[in-house]
Every structure is written in C-alpha cells, then in structure tokens.
Symmetry: C4
Subunit: 198 residues, 4 copies
C-alpha cells in the first residue's frame, strides 16, 4: 500500500505554522533594567532581529516545501522518515533563535550563531535528501509532471547547503553578519527560487 | 507560474489561531504575594485586560484577513513576502501584550503601551500595503469581484493606521486609556467594517 | 453579506486543539526536592489531576461546539463576537488549570478552585448565549434542521451553568472535590448530552 | 445519531502536530556555565536526544493513528472518550521528555526515564484499547474494509505494550539505554508496522 501525501502534508503544515508562531516565546525583557523598560526594549534588538529572521525563513521554507509536495504523488516509509527528520529540524529552530537573540553582541555570540547556522545547514541538507529521494528515477513524482518543474526545484534546493554553509563560516568572523545574511537569504533569494521559476 | 492562495491561507489561519491561543502563556501570578492567592489574582487585572484586548483584536483581524483573501484569486512572490511580514507582526503580539499586562499601572507602563500600540500601527500599515498591492489595477483580484466589494475593503482598511496611531498618541498620556481604546476598536469598530459592509 | 460558518469553524477548531495541548506547559516539577525526583513526581499529583480534567473538558466542549456549528448555516457580526468571547474563555483555561495544579492541597487552594470554576461558569454561560442567539426564531439555523435536533442541543446546554455553578459553590468547601466533580462532568455527563441525544 | 470521524480526525491531527512542536520549549541552556556557551550547548546533549526521540515517536504514532482512522467509518461516545484519553497522553509527552532531557546522566535519571517509559506504555495501551473497541465485531469499521487490513493494524498495535514495557524495565538498569531503545522503536519498528504491511 502506498499512502498518498495528504497526511504528510497536514502534519507538515501544522508543524511549520506552530514553529513560526512559537518563536515569540523566546523573546523576553529583563524587568530589572535600571534605565527603565523603554531602554530595555531597545537594548534587546538582537531578539527582534533573530525573531524576524527565523519567522521569514520558516515562512519561505514552508512555501517551498508545500510547492514541492504538490509535485509528489505518493509516499513510502523512507520518505515519511526523512520528512519527519526535516520537520524535527524546523521545529527545533526556536531554540537556536532564542540563543542568537540572547547572546548576540555578548559573550557566547559565536557559539549561538554557529548553533543557528548549523541548524540551518542540517535543514537544507535534509531538504535536499528529501527531494532527491522523491526525484531519483521520478520515484514518487506525479505522472505528467514536466521535467522543467523538477529542474526548477533542483535549482532551488541545490544552493541551500552552500548558502547556509557560508552563513556558518561567516559566524566564525561576525555572528551579527551571519544573522543578517540569513535574513537576506530568506528575504531575497528563497522567494524567487522554487516558487516562481520560469 | 502563479500559485493559488490556498497555501497562503492555510499558513495564515494557523498563525492567527496559534498566536491568539499563546496569549494565555503571558499571564502569570506571583505566588509570594503575602495577602494570599485570591488577592494576587485580583491584583493582576491588567493582565486579563491585555489578554482580552489582544485576543479579540487577533480574532477580528483574522476574520478581516480571511474575508479579503476570498476576493484574491492568485498570489505572487511580493504578495507572499508582504503576507509573511504581516503574519510576523500578528505572531509578535503576545510579547507586547505581556508587557502591557505586566507593566500597566506600574513603572514602565508608558513604554509597554507604546510598544503595544506601535506593533498595532505596524500591523495595520502592513495590512493596508498587503491589500493595496493586491488591489491596484486589480492585480490579484478574482475576476467578477464587484467594485463595491473592493471599496468595502478599502473603507475597512483605511482607518486602521489613523485609529491605532491615535492609540499610540494616547499611550503618552494614559497607557490604560490606550489599551481600553484598543479593546473598543476590536469590539465595536472592526466587526462592522469589512465583513458586513453593504 | 452573510458569511458562512467555514471560517468561524476553522478558527474555533484551532483554538480548542491548541488550548488543550498547551495545558502540559503548566506542569512543572521542582528539581530541588531533597527526597529525589521520583518523590517529587508523585507529590505533584494535583497537577496531573488538573491537566486531565481540563484536557477532557476542552475535548468534550469542542465536540459539542463542533456539533452545534453543523446545525448553523450562516453567521453575523454579533455571532462572531460571541464566538470570539467563547474561544477567549476556552483559551484562558490553561491559566486557572495551572493555578489548581500548583495550589491544590496548599495555601490558596480555595482561590485557585474558585478561579477555575468561575472560568467554567463563564464558558458555559457564553456557550448558552452563543446557542441562544443562533437559535431564537431559528435566526442562524440551517433550513430543514428538525426541531428535535435543536431541542437536543437545548437540553445539552441548559444544565451547563447550574452544573459549573455547583462546582463553584463546592469549591468553597472542598477545592479538591470541586475539581473531581469537574472531571466527572466531562467524563460522564457531557459526552452523552448533545452528541448522542435521541 | 452516529457522528462521522471528521471532527475526531481534525482534533487529533491538531493535537499531534502541536505536541510535537511544543517539545522544543523543553530545551534550555544555563547561561551561567563558566566554560562558555559552546561548552554548555554540548553538555545538554541529553536534551537533544530526548527531543529527537519524542518528535520521531509522535510523528510515527500520528501516522499510525491517521491510517487507522481511515478504516473507521463512524464513531460513538465511548470511542470519542477513548480517543480523548489517547490524545491526552500524547499531549502529555513533552513533560516527561523534558524530565529525561534535564535529568539523564544526573541524579533522578531513573525516575525521569520511568516517567517517560510509563507514559509510552499508557499511550500504547490506550492505542490498543482504542483500536480494539473499534474493531470488535467490526463495530466502527467501514464496510468493505478487507480483513487483511484489520489484521495488519492488529499486528502493528499488539507489540506496542510489550515493547514499551521492555523500555520501562530497561529504565531500571540503564535510563540512557531505555531512551535509545525508544528512539530505535520509532525509527525502525513503527514505520514498517502498520502503514506498509503487506
């Protein structure tokens, strides 16, 4: 029996939306700041930056995931397992996001940025494995899907690991620049890659 | 390729419902109150006010968003990006809601109310940009949608920024009044605006 | 324009499921218990009782809500506002559940149980207002719905306020008994009331 | 009246996805580690292990649940109540997962692992009761479902209690081994059991 992709999709959609919305719980402000709450709220700007970066990243990755699932007609146990690992990585993102928000511009910022970038590298790698498994010999691809649609997804997923690998390397030199680059990837690169390829 | 609005809608619905339900996690009571738990539970009334205000606001905005999406037939990468920014703001609301609940009637109440009102101003502005982008030259509007339906949405979104701007200004003078006005907008103005216009 | 009940339903379903699942976040154990973790885990049994009671209650109320919505064909702004208030009360339940779990069998247990029962009374009252508004003169009821189906829902909702009112009164004498009665209502009364009436 | 399984399914799907995604909130790192954040992040590896184990377990159990529901045509009050108890156990999992993550390799690890395995035993037992209730005399089974499909589900659910019972016993000797065995069950046994039986 080869189950359809319906339940894989429902579970995935839920996890993406919940993970993005949980990000806000990582934001907190210390009420003991002697300069007052207004100052404290400005002082925690790294938390806002980390929140915005992760929210936009999850939103875009969800759209790519959702688009790709629409090309897939069936699933199997290996695919479900890979998909679970991928979702596990997405749902993990609030933790390193919280680290970046807390430690950026403070002791530990390098470790926080490396944890963040490392999670994104794993996520990109799993996304590529996930797609590669479905695509090889059109194993799980819907009949009638044109090759051009498959190649468009290929082109979208191939740069993922190198791009987030570059973020990882950058984190050694400038954790802040690494986070900004992550935001730029989500804002400028990903939206144009898979969804609107011509 | 122009994706339909289905996935935009599912992701948006999830984020609205989760953000509203997470608001309760911002409520807490200090068990060290020497007058007993009963007194402490009455003492934290600003937290209840903030909770109710944000819940009703998210509920109504979600309905307006959902209604407007029903007029939109297709989406593009710019629209998805604006929608992501809008959801990001909605999902952020539990944080300033928690600030208002914690700081109202205490030191820092002005900063808390300004953060709250500022978030609502940004949300209203993004909602207007979101709608404006779809509506200009009927860029993303479903064929056959009558002009009167578009004008009804216009009338509903135009007052958003001025209204929440007024809340922002009021927060300088009376943070409590600003929160009460926010509640009144959600309870009395928004329900009548877009959904039931004739 | 009279919107259909679709979006009311999707938002409601989400809030019920999320509120029930968030209950677990109210459970915590103090790691400083000198008798060891095993003892501490047994010692917090009120938290398990509160968790189970609220989870079963939300689950059953959600089913009743969902069933009733199936009899409703259209909605209006008043209905949406009442529904929002009802969901607001459901989503609030994790807070008094946490109070009961923390304070039962300790100082403050009466206040905790009263807050819990009070929330349930408000929820039952709003549920009745919600149904009454839809039902009067069959204002929002689907054509062709038999009167017997409406009377079945009447019979299910009428005892809500008295029952939870009895829980409230009982909380003055025995907070523990009040929580146990709440569990019994969810386990034995509610499932038989609206859904399977003949 | 015999309600269909639609609402049971929607509520269940939501609870599984939310419970899995909430697991990340149990992960935290102490910022006071004097060896720096990088060291602290490596030191909390039991939290990652617990997170991955529970996420994969919930993901697989959700797929089995979803598959089984597809064989069920109708529901009744007993079934809804059993299903609620089952979901209650799933939604509880983040708490013992947090215990395992916090206490593994420290004082209290046995109690934590027993709480974790005990929850899984209860979940497996309820899953079997849930299935048994639907299956006896094909009480709730869709007409036309072949006996082989029922026997496949039988074979998938029967080993649940013994397997998690073995995890429970193993926790007395080696809490770490118990968690690793739990992961292995989710990764290797469960995917092959119900979904792809031939």
């Amino acid at each position: 029996m080869e189950p359809s992709t319906g339940r894989l999709e429902a579970f995935s959609d839920g996890v993406f939306a919940i993970a993005a919305t949980l990000l806000v719980l990582e934001i907190s402000v210390s009420s003991t700041d002697e300069l007052g709450l207004g100052h404290a709220l400005l002082h925690i700007w790294p938390q806002y930056l980390a929140y915005v970066t992760s929210f936009v990243t999850i939103g875009i990755i969800w759209m790519n995931h959702h688009h790709t699932v629409s090309l897939i007609a069936r699933t199997d146990r290996t695919m479900l397992f890979i998909n679970n690992l991928l979702l596990l990585t997405v749902a993990f993102l609030p933790f390193p996001t919280g680290l970046v928000g807390t430690y950026l511009q403070r002791d530990g910022e390098q470790a926080a940025a490396l944890a963040y970038a490392g999670t994104l590298v794993v996520m990109a790698a799993l996304h590529q494995v996930w797609w590669g498994y479905a695509r090889v010999n059109r194993r799980l691809i819907a009949d009638g899907t044109p090759d051009s649609a498959l190649r468009a997804v290929d082109r979208a997923y191939v740069p993922g690991v190198p791009m987030y690998g570059a973020v990882f390397l950058l984190a050694f030199f400038s954790p802040l620049a690494a986070v900004v680059l992550t935001f730029a990837i989500a804002a400028f690169y990903l939206p144009s890659a898979a969804l609107f390829d011509r």
